[in-house]
Amino acid sequence: MIPNPLALIAEITHRCPLHCVYCSNPLELAAVSSELSTAEWIDVLQQAGKLGMLHAHFTGGEPLARPDLVELIAAARAAGLYTNLITSGIGLAEPRLKALVDAGLDHIQISFQDSREDSANWIAGTKAHAHKIELSRIVRRYKIAFTVNLVIHRQNIDHLEEMISFIEQLAPERMEIAHTQYYGWALQNRAALLPTRVQLERAVEIVAAAEKRLAGRIRVDSVVPDYYGRYPKACMGGWGRRLMLINPAGKVLPCHAAEIIPDLTFENVREQTLEFIWQQSPSFQRFRGEEWMPEPCRSCDRRAEDFGGCRCQALLLAVDAAATDPACSLAPAHYIVEAALAEANSSAAVSQPAPASSFVQLQRQARDLWSYRTNPE
């Protein structure tokens, strides 16, 4: 008997007013016309509750782009789930926030791109920063948990201390300092985002110091940069072990990126129940447990800790979803990650653009530097 999943990641739309260059959404975004209806989502949330899941994470794209979000939060809460809204905050003014809280929203997580307005807007490809600050102040009037998420990379990591002080002023319970993970748009823009080893080491020290200084006031959670790690991350806590993700079109995936794995077929909530998919679908079975593992994972002491790392990263880098994650220093394909690191640390690497005095100037420079996330049809 497979233990129940713990959490549902509800990617309710891929529409987004931001165009962040580090977005981990798939390059092939789900079309607006394919999105699940309100009734379909409510049914899924009820199933998730019955399956014994504890958390529902509403994300996207920008979940606020769905006009029925209040209804969905209420349905999740009624199904016994803890509700988390992962958002840019664009599309949220106080009346709607109040409606969400009244519907049972437990936790809001707002992403920031930088502490400096021009740079933040440049990374997001739109002017969103000032609104996020304003919204953060409003959020603090309500009794919900508040997390500020900051994705760090080559372009902003040098003023990490400043960014942490900036977040501190927003007074969240929690801050998440996340190194960019290289999937989707982020992988496409990797050369402009991957930090140098020197940048990384400095950042690790700064995060550790902040964690200590803020203990008891703000919890600091950090997402490690797996390219520089010795061992891979335990992606999603293991394939099909804890989480189910439903994409805007109703496809049920073990993680954000799984759709890119070519030989897997993913069921849709329009045709199958969550319970059936969790227990029986071949896609969830495919990398469960240890049977599928190649060497060196199969005989590795760490196989029950990191589960061989990330299947999608193995596919993206080693072109084999069943390979050891190339981020692992023991992986046969580790040379691919080493090559990326060598490039990032070479003097010829894409560096930061010359300091620009305005968002417009930054945008002009950005044309050759990276591609912004687009929007689904």
């Binding site: 713990l6 504890l54 958390h55 803890y82 437990d106 009794k143 948990a145």
Partner: protein, 101 residues
């Protein structure tokens, strides 16, 4: 951040709450019933003393009252140890931002 003082009034932090009954727990007949506290990105299962402590963290009772109640309830245990254990427990949960005091 210091441990709670006698006059502190421990409570669940914003956005942390008890889960619905039987949710995420493995209650077997004969065992003391587990309950779960939900918080951003996680959940903790509680039974026994841990559960007794957190059920009293209602923002009304003071730390001193909570200690006194549990010292009375567990009269066989060393009262000094009860106090230090609970103090440590609450401090840890504060660091995780599950409890405020």
């Amino acid at each position: 951040m210091p441990p709670p003082e006698d006059s502190s009034q421990p409570r669940l932090a914003a956005g942390c709450r008890w889960g619905a009954e039987n949710r995420g727990t493995e209650n077997k007949p004969g065992n003391e019933e587990e309950r779960v506290i939900l918080f951003p990105e996680g959940a903790i299962k509680l039974q026994g003393t841990g559960r007794q402590v957190l059920e009293r963290c209602d923002g009304q009772r003071t730390f001193a009252q909570i200690i006194a109640e549990l010292q009375a309830k567990f009269a066989d245990a060393d009262p000094v140890k009860i106090r230090s254990d609970i103090s440590q427990f609450l401090e840890q949960l504060r660091h995780k931002r599950i409890v405020d005091y």
